[in-house]
Symmetry: C2
DNA sequence: ATGAAAGCGCTAACAA
DNA sequence: TTGTTAGCGCTTTCAT
């Protein structure tokens, strides 16, 4: 009778479980939260009661008192250039998909959930910041698409928790994960040199992005170790079109080149297209090495030899760093740098 | 003094705003929620106070009383085939990125936030269902990657709100958005026939997926209207590899074909590669039409003539349908079917 | 049109 | 080890 009434009223609460188990709300709460200091036999009783009532935690209620939500913001942030096309483009980039996959898979082992947010305008950035500042998420995972993204600084100023994917353009007291780009580029250089290539050029990413710079200097350093002090370069934009155009320029100025290192796979794919249009066979005439090991690497023909960036692992680590920070806010910013590996396929 | 104390204590609450504005909590709440019956002058005062205090709503507290979270689950659900590779692949598909973009952009106009979830195993599905059943999200947007996804039925049985992207394989009392695939395929057929192609074949998607079937029958119907009752087909898997292989088979059996309709752009891209390997020029020797107008359509060379699916709009509508359902749970399931358009580029 | 007050479900002192 | 109790910040009757 009483039970029937309750059933109609809503989902079971701690109170219901307590009544069924014949204990207090507090004890049930302790069991639910895995606190010690609860008699094993009572624990069993409580668990029984939880099962029979079909109890599930109300996160809003918990959140109200603990001031934790169990949610974190997964933010894709841009410099605010062309806001309209931004969202379409960024989510379509296979890179972001890998980040999302890595984050989701790690977070669910922790019972934490990612809230997807876009921060492509000043207003949107303010919203994101307000959202986490006001406790609607416990922190933010920020993936910036541009070098001068103001969002990380906003988070720092507000004292809100955040972890970045990739080192910020200017030093900031904030945690991030990144790749040893220098090492990765050296892997590419060694491979190209090892295949006997002598006239080697490189297509860089946008040079205001730290990763682009690091890949370029890493490549140059390694090549000069191999005895090639001068490396022709063409700046790209990390997109396929940019790769095509850059390759055109390189070919115009250096028609006899026999090796190219592109700073990401999308541009390498573009380079492949241009080379093909110019009748160059890959890898016979020109060897091409990409960077990332994204889906583009296996989608292109020939498939790309490329420097693998373990994006999913990096994303998981980013989430781990954030949760650690939330757990222990005193802890200073920490960063993790991952080591790249070379994946040899057909293009070089 | 009192203010300084408060500032150290935490973010401003309704109470703080009320004190500053010299009104009661209830009045501030009414202003915040846009309720009528508040004196315009008092509204102004309150808004002032909100601004000066930097007040922002605590969603957990609201959620506790309204039993709404303002969050919805954005679920990518698979049949559970190979759970491991699933997440990597699905988020990398440009299709999912477009859905996410459309959903995020629409939801933020409504002050609602999407929580990203993966449902690739039975356990994960149970988690997702429990999550929304227990009020941690107000409903779910489900994007299934396979025909026999059990998740929609689970939601229906549990009485939880959900809207699907694409009609389910077997009829279900649930809202969804979809495309007029039949019409889209006819667009492709008309275009191919209009270009004077006579020996036309098609690469289909997995034939247990409704969309694949609809595109196939739509294509056949239109072609027979053009006087071609027989159309060779090869079944693909909606991925590039599958397109390559299907094209191989088609070419082996019908070496003289001069037109191909692929049921999505990824497979069309694969077909392009195979055709190229066999020395066929596109569109001169063989015209190719894709489907989706995804990023692959502009990334391939030649760029694809394709049937455009307005995925972002469809995703936004999906979110709109869900919010409407949450607002008014009595309302029966509703579906919206979008019209495709033909985008003519270079491949046909 | 406004205010007073109850209470949403939970956690965390504090007592016992 | 367990129970009692006081809120967390908000919405929402019910009075006024």
């Amino acid at each position: 009778m009483d039970d029937a009434l309750r059933a109609a009223v809503g989902p079971p609460t701690l109170e219901d479980v307590a009544r069924v188990a014949g204990v207090s709300r507090a004890t049930v709460s302790r069991v639910v939260n895995g606190t010690r200091n609860v008699d094993p036999r009572i624990q069993d009783t409580v668990r029984q009661a939880i099962a029979t009532t079909g109890y599930a935690l109300n996160r809003a209620a918990r959140s109200l008192v603990t001031r934790r939500t169990g949610n974190i913001a997964l933010v894709v942030s841009g410099a605010g250039a062309d806001a309209e096309s931004f969202s379409a483009g960024v989510f379509t980039d296979p890179f972001f998909g890998r980040v999302a996959a890595g984050v989701v898979k790690f977070l669910r082992t922790q019972g934490v959930h990612p809230v997807l947010m876009l921060a492509e305008t000043d207003d949107a950035r303010a919203d994101v910041l307000a959202y986490v500042r006001h406790g609607n998420a416990d922190g933010a995972l920020i993936v910036s698409t541009h070098a001068e993204d103001p969002l990380p600084a906003l988070f720092i100023d507000a004292g809100a928790h955040a972890v970045l994917f990739a080192r910020p353009a200017r030093p900031l007291p904030i945690s991030y994960v990144d790749l040893a780009h220098h090492t990765g580029a050296a892997l590419a250089a060694d491979h190209l040199a090892g295949r006997g290539r002598r006239r080697i050029a490189t297509i860089t990413g946008p040079l205001d992005v730290p990763a682009s710079q690091d890949r370029l200097t890493g490549f140059r350093d390694a090549m000069s170790r191999h005895g090639y002090p001068y490396i022709p370069i063409a700046e790209g934009d990390f997109r396929q079109d940019g790769g095509e155009l850059a390759m055109e320029r390189l070919l115009a100025e250096h028609p006899h080149l026999d090796g190219v290192f592109a700073a990401n796979d999308l541009m390498a794919q573009g380079a492949l297209l241009t080379l093909h249009n110019h009748g160059r066979r890959v890898p016979d005439d020109v060897a091409v090495v990409g960077f990332d090991d994204s889906s583009a690497a296996v989608a292109s023909r020939p498939q790309l030899t490329t420097v693998r960036q373990p994006v999913e692992l990096m994303a998981a680590e980013m989430a781990r760093l954030l949760l650690a920070r939330i757990e222990n806010p005193e802890q200073p910013p920490r960063s993790t740098i991952f080591e790249p590996t070379l994946v040899v396929r057909q293009s070089a």
